[in-house]
Amino acid sequence: MEYSSGTPPVQRLIDEFSRLPGVGPKSAQRLTYHLIRMPAEQAENLASAILSVKTRITLCSKCFHITENDPCNICSDTTRDQSKICVVEQPLDVMALEKTSTYDGLYHVLHGVISPINGIGPDDLKVKPLLQRLMDNDVTEIIMATNPNLEGEATSMFIHKLIEPSGIKITKPARGLPVGGDLEYADEATLSRAIEGRQNF
């Protein structure tokens, strides 16, 4: 949206806030009036944080995770297992997996999922760079950690078909019961996957 010099700054800020996901016009007004009452220093911190995110953050040229340095800290860490790549949908998935501290390989962020009904196909995702990475490096295992829903599974199956001829081992995280949940409340799909994927005690 183009603003003329005559647009009141308050209205401009409200309009900008209401473009954010999950922020309606009322919330945008509330945020704006909160900012007006905020000390100038805090507001400047917020503004500079937003600016630095936009100017300093880029995508890693190897794994497409968001990063300040290219290649990212994960890709440039030589202590990590370079033979494993975990394929995820979004950068937030990398952060969730990193919190577990159980995975020490590399990642590849697709930046989306195949969603035919929304017209999103494999060419709209970072699939080709993944295939290129597999050709250039000694990767022995691909972990397909897309979301366990129809579109996530379809994406995994599609990539699996592309990689299969190369003979690289392809795995996916186990599907099953959430830790701390009650068995009786698990839905049939989850429970049947959990039984299918049972392990030796």
Binding site: I117, G119, E153, D187, E188
Partner: protein, 259 residues
């Protein structure tokens, strides 16, 4: 006993769209109310009460509460999740394609029992995984029938004379196939050629509309579906007035399956 605020119905999940932190807008095709969109709160959280019940293409029993702007999904139980279909990438792409067709042709809050029933029947045909391409075409044909767009294939749409077993001209504006004489008088620049091979299948479909095709009925036709597939694709696009979004992926996976 249901109050006016809550309605219960059988439904197929057509599509989902993330909204807010953990919610999704689910588009159902319901048996009793036609196409309905409702918010499923918390569905993206692991451990949500909905679990996997709101997966696309699930046949479910659901109860939905009317809301001020959007309705809310209260409960959802899976009746059938078509497990075989979900193991096959091409079948998934085909299932999503028919979901998009129903999303395009189905009307908001206007029930069409026949449309619901043929959708259900086609999903179970896709789940059986044999002659899936034939069942998709049979679905497309009946979708045109139940939504009032079915053209005439057996006789000339203008002069009603019988047609020879040969290629003919199809004119979507006229609503069917024209005989060679009528093409000269009534044909428009929108018309296109439809081959005898396509017409054979289309006439078989037209004759079979009031019967339920058994799994064996696909047999004689499965090797000669390219023309009828192309014809229905063009006609669907003509009716929908746009390209269907899921056809690109469908064509890609079908191509990869055979090459």
């Amino acid at each position: 006993m249901t109050s006016n605020r809550v309605y219960k119905t059988k439904a197929i999940v057509l599509k989902q769209m993330p909204i807010g932190e953990t919610n999704r807008i689910i588009t159902f095709y319901t048996r009793s109310f036609g196409k309905v969109a409702a918010v499923a709160r918390g569905v993206r959280r692991p451990g949500s009460k909905f679990g996997g019940s709101l997966e696309i293409l699930n046949h479910v029993q659901t109860s939905i509460a009317r809301g001020r702007s959007l309705d809310n999904v209260n409960e959802c139980v899976v009746i059938e999740s078509y497990k075989n279909l979900r193991k096959n990438l091409t079948a998934i792409a085909e299932g999503i394609y028919i979901a998009e067709l129903v999303d395009t042709f189905g009307e908001d809050r206007s029930p069409n029992f026949s449309l619901f029933d043929i959708l259900l029947e086609t999903l179970s045909n896709l789940d059986q995984s044999e002659h899936r391409e034939f069942w998709i075409l049979w679905f497309e044909f009946r979708l045109l029938h139940v939504s009032g767009f079915l053209p005439e294939f057996v006789s000339c749409v203008e002069c009603h004379s019988g047609l020879d077993r040969t290629d003919h001209t199809f004119d979507p504006g006229a609503g069917g196939v024209l005989c060679p004489e009528c093409v000269n008088n009534y044909g428009t620049d929108q018309s296109w050629n439809v081959s005898v091979s396509a017409l054979t299948v289309l006439r078989f479909f037209q004759r079979s509309l009031n019967s339920k095709l058994q799994s064996g009925s696909a047999g004689p036709y499965v090797d000669d579906l390219a023309d009828v597939k192309a014809f229905l694709r063009i006609y669907m696009r003509y009716i929908a007035e746009r390209d269907l979004k899921s056809t690109g992926f469908l064509d890609l996976v079908r191509f990869k399956e055979t090459h």
